[in-house]
Symmetry: D2
Subunit: 448 residues, 4 copies
């Protein structure tokens, strides 16, 4: 789903460092590539490559990237081989000068538009949606840049949030359904745009407000203005942001991710209680819901699995042989806590089920008497067409009944949170895209 951030500075700040720390705060949204572009008096300099922010940027590069407007990006890798050419921000030149785009989400008619553009003789250097958008904007170069973007967006459909940097402006857009998150912060009197509020906290900025569905905000010289899309639909925000994607310390459209997850845990405890001695989580994704489950049920919360925090991207993976010999890298069981115990194991979701099978096996080997698996979201039954990396083929809930899943994972019981409770936990109703959970998408999908 990618992480994006942009700043328009009027007070001579070291913006490349600020963006770098912002990327670091948004790194959970994408680990495939990192990039940054800055505008230095109309000349856009940039750097991007495969890797985490701290791998891609050296002090030397950060010091080179000087300017008063900047935009940065971390990419969530979805299809095919990672290729540095697809790293963002996309930086291109067009009639009106340079344009940089950091995008998140998925434009579902991008392929269609791409074909139309190709019919007109357009070439494409990358596989990104951002390049499609840039071409559309360039088509309207006779308009003012703001109108050009408005016109360009008219033809695209899907889930998208974008931060664009022109030669003199920083522009944020959120699709008319508001499917992805985008917020505005203030650093002194200057404005910042970011996927999540946690990046604002990290760089010492204040939360200002969320960008609204179908809104475009234009920032220039310390001023902000808002342009609304002609068509704005009922908000359909991605429910998976609350389940898994967003950081717990972020607040999206006024809802705290942490509180929504804890509430999901509590509602799960109410609807699906278990006779057990301890509540543990599958680290780190299940932790908040597990705490909620424990609080509601009165069963003590404990750590049952310890995660090794030193794993790096260049780590040498064990061979299948070594795995079979018992080498287990990321997680270790806390035998003392689970031996002889009836355990409630809480996780945020099950997609393919492989990791969960291994975890339950570890708990049982360590002497857990019973393992009651509780999932703080409904079964993932349908693919996401808006950027999340799930395909119909891998979804365990499509292939198996809940009882079959339980059996295959080896748990003593398995219960999922209902969609109704999941939504209730967020405090808002009717505002979510729940396509992957119930097959109801906010717009027509050309299913493949």
């Amino acid at each position: 789903m990618c992480g994006i951030i942009g700043i328009y500075d009027t007070e001579n700040r070291d913006i490349s460092k600020i963006l770098y720390y912002g990327l670091y705060a948004l790194q959970h949204r994408g680990q495939e590539s990192s990039g940054m572009a800055v505008n230095n008096n109309g000349f856009i300099d940039y750097h991007k490559d495969l890797g985490l922010a701290h791998e891609v940027f050296s002090e030397e590069i950060i010091n080179r990237l000087r300017g008063n407007v900047g935009v940065a990006h971390v990419k969530y890798g979805t299809n095919g081989e990672p290729n540095s050419i697809n790293a963002e921000p996309l930086v291109v030149g067009y009639k009106k000068g340079a344009l940089a785009i950091s995008s998140s989400g998925k434009i579902i008619n991008a392929e269609e538009i791409r074909e139309k553009l190709e019919d007109e003789g357009t070439i494409f250097a990358t596989d990104t949606d951002a390049e499609v958008v840039a071409n559309l904007i360039a088509r309207f170069h006779k308009d003012d840049i703001e109108m050009a973007i408005v016109n360009a967006l008219k033809s695209i459909k899907g889930s998208y949030t974008m931060i664009l940097m022109t030669t003199d402006r920083l522009i944020g857009v959120r699709d008319p359904y508001g499917m992805g998150p985008l917020c505005i912060g203030k650093l002194g009197k200057d404005y910042i745009l970011s996927s999540e509020t946690c990046a604002l906290d990290t760089i010492g900025a204040e939360f200002f407000r969320d960008v609204e569905p179908g809104e475009m905000v234009v920032i220039k010289d310390g001023k902000i203005k808002s342009i609304k899309s002609e068509k704005i639909y009922d908000k359909k925000f991605c429910i998976f942001e609350f389940i898994y994607l967003a950081r717990p310390d972020s607040k999206i459209d006024g809802v705290s991710v942490y509180l929504a997850r804890r509430e999901a845990g509590k509602l799960l405890a109410k609807a699906s209680p278990a006779e057990a001695d301890i509540v543990i989580s599958a680290p780190d994704s299940g932790t908040v819901a597990a705490i909620g489950y424990a609080e509601q049920s009165g069963i003590p919360y404990a750590e049952g699995l310890i995660k090794n925090k030193y794993i790096g991207r260049t780590f040498i993976e064990p061979t299948q042989e070594l795995r079979e010999q018992g080498v287990r890298l990321k997680l270790n069981v806390l035998k003392e806590n689970v031996e002889g115990k009836r355990v409630v194991l809480v996780d945020d979701s099950i997609v393919r089920g492989t990791t969960m099978r291994r975890i339950v096996g570890m708990l049982k080997s360590a002497g857990a008497k019973e393992v009651h698996l509780r999932i703080a979201s409904p079964p993932v039954m349908d693919p996401c067409y808006f950027g999340l990396d799930t395909t119909k083929k891998n979804l365990i809930a499509v292939e198996k009944s809940i009882e079959e899943i339980r059996e295959s994972i080896g748990a003593d019981s398995l219960e999922y949170l209902s969609l109704k409770d999941l939504i209730k936990g967020t405090g808002e109703e009717g505002v979510y895209c729940t396509g992957c959970l119930n097959g109801i998408y906010p717009m027509d999908i050309h299913k493949n």
Copy 2:
């Protein structure tokens, strides 16, 4: 305190990979350098450098390191500039062939012995204790290697655990006070030596037993034998291993680190209760004690601080200016959880107090009504002479009274666990070195 691991394989395993995963499990014991030496028919090949295991070892190097006996090391950096020359295992040649040593702890009369050896015309290529020990062993080369080690150890004093690899043996030693941890595992019928049991779990080995204080174990061809030191003192195990150093999923001399920390949290709640709405921990070090505190007190456990997990060794640190502008990298407050709340904040220990001051400030800014700081160990009042990186100068508890510390940190109340309760939590009494907490060391120290 360093992490050490060794294996004597008789079944043609891929031991360099096993050691690599072992180092990864022990990485919390040292991040300065990583190294590994393997014995291939009497020829010792090795690789070591500054950095984490996954940075130092590439697949190519791991594949090159082939043999049936191997020993590895991660170094806890203490004094001066990190220098790759001090990485271990130390590999040297002497009269009887090659010798590799992975050591942990601190020999307190190393300087004295070094001077005596220099008087005799010895040169030193490194600053390590291991080189001192290697020289002592080489002096006794006319003896059998086991006797040579026994004789060499007679003159050294301090806290040490070592794994030595000779041309045909793997040897583990633990000092006569048993100040540091060393355990034996079994992988099939083969023996493994490791600082902590968590490494055994990671590589799929079974725990066999701990090496005893003053014991030397010699492993050869799938057989193990034990040689006891003439002088064995009452065990004086480093209490800080339970407070902070060891991984919670390890068991040392029969005591679970997790249970000891949870019990510390419980005893802390009993002795130092607080009127509060939630219990949170300073991640990650205070988490287990915080869970115990919450369980005992009945106050709900919550996450109040979120730690960014993407920080790398090559990360660009913020300037002081950016820090003052509010850039906070490693931790973010969960405002929703702390706003308007009375918070119990639990950590394992306070050494210098700087981080704690920042955390309490963050909590207060986020709207915490009260912050009651509870420390699951007594004040650190005295230096450690046995390898822990604390010096009298930096210890806040030496310079300030508890009330002054509280004030300087900005907490509403501050209480420490008593030494008595700390020890009680481990379930064993009279077996600890508590020098840094009460100035009572197991042996005479030439204080500087």
Copy 3:
């Protein structure tokens, strides 16, 4: 001027390695960046980056790049900061699939076309001429690819040679003036295209023939066909290729570079004799002409300057202070050879004069009695608009008379080869662009 090479393989060769060795042979034509694209059943994979071929390509990457058609490139850096985005081959998608372009030379109306394309809404991701050409080709996608290229080329003007790779063809083009070199080789029954014949020798291919001015050759399945441009002008090959750019072991349009340079040296000796004891060259560029000068004049050839061959791209340059203290990195004088001698110093050309001043100074300090500077080409008086990195500002011959140059360099005499003799040395007349020597360019230039 860049180096380009392409291959269409029908015999399952390891083409990425062949292209890699080809780039290595063409490395003298460009050191800024290196790149390669291969066609694997219609899917084009590629890798390119700043640096020499052996720095950019690892064995792993070369092994990954598998296919039956391939094209590669080394870039001669001209304007501005090196940026990896401008590395070639350019790889884009358009209506008919993937297209890769390796280009050399300079399209002088590229800026004009770029503006026209931007008017139509086109975006540009790079600063390369190749991207302009790709856009033009894509405009004609309804035509067959060969006609599309023919049509695209109609609007471009300048010096260019290109190798294009489509989903099923390898295509070479040379501009209608034939300003840059491009030849065809055979490897078994397969065809290869290359900037220079030295690359054919290196990879073990036979020279087949040169691509003619205004010719396009299309290679597919081991067959070659030729398409001639409607407009073909009198050949105007860049004379600087013979002076400096090409490798001496290449043969261009039937003329041996070595023989042309040696002949230039001989004619220089005839027209500008000197009373001297030895002939030396400024290594390595002046060596061939110096050998010719020595042979003609009967004055013995000797080495007067030794060049250090270990300099690397990452070398730390000396500060100005160290230079003034006498640190001289690349060249050392052979005092024994020049002391007390009257020296003829031969070089291929003088552009800015700084290096030559230093060299003459070194020779004088080493005791040379006289230094007679002989240049195997006429003064560079005008800028090159076709890709050579000379601007009017830096040209010493523009600012100073020959006598002033001599004085500023400190030589005892200075003579240049006449343009007539230079051309005579190549054995062909009326076929050269001599713009930088006499201001006569083959086409109208919009001078800046």
Copy 4:
């Protein structure tokens, strides 16, 4: 044979940069590893690793290495796998403080001394002679450092030159036979020690004098003093330094390497003339002798082979298959120069003959009518025990007669320079070790 350089600075120079440029000038003496140690008020800091100087040292490291005395080293790789642990300078601590040693040559009784030291309980961390010497010096630590070195050297035998850095002195030693080169330069009023004079030229220093056989020079605070060994033998300088090892622009013990090689070429032309059209060299080693041969014979000198100068250490070598298909990387024939010609091909020496066979083959394929091979030194018939990497097994002249060598190489004639003429060319008689040419070594060798 390694390259060594040291400086004692009294004028606050940037000595790490000066040493770096010195290493670069001496790089031809060793490409396995590079290293440097500097003395900063008694504290010795250093850096060394496998690789060329420009690969091992970054600007950051060079800037870190600050001090007033420094010593540096490039290692010529001989035995076994390159291992960074054997890089020099060796830096150790002993009773009197720190000691750094850069050594060159081979101590032939090092193994014997090593065993004796091991008997006394000494350990060794490296395989270097320098560590043996350091141990011997440390044994005499009660003496003044100068006497300690004098005493240590009494027991070693072989070819050696060394630069030692103590806490307050820079010391150069040359063995009593003067087998290897070592000279003294002056930079302002400060002294420099270097393997060859070319490094002095590079860093802008003046040649002062050569260190004499059996001499030890001690430099301190801008003063130099000389200590002579009790035993000084007739000088036996390595003749291979003149044949191949030294750089042509160096002068050793008063003899110019260039002039010696040119004279060898001339004497070769006199003794072994050939009816031919051109004289060419095997680049770069045969160039100087070829120039001499051409001058003496009156046959024109020409370039017949062009060497690619872009090869790097990380270059991907062609497979045997590609070699057989004609891929030739380092050299290309200048067909124009050799086709139809009778060629004299001059090289400095033949060791194994493989490269020469390939070169002659290339010349013949390119159409050379005859190839007359002339070698500017006698056949290499015996191993070198003093550091040169030749073993009896690989020597073609041991296995074959000259006629057989000629046949195997494919030359039309083959002649070697006589030993008498070789020595005559240097202008000095009776002062050379010619062991590898005639089996007469200056000292008893325990032949293996």
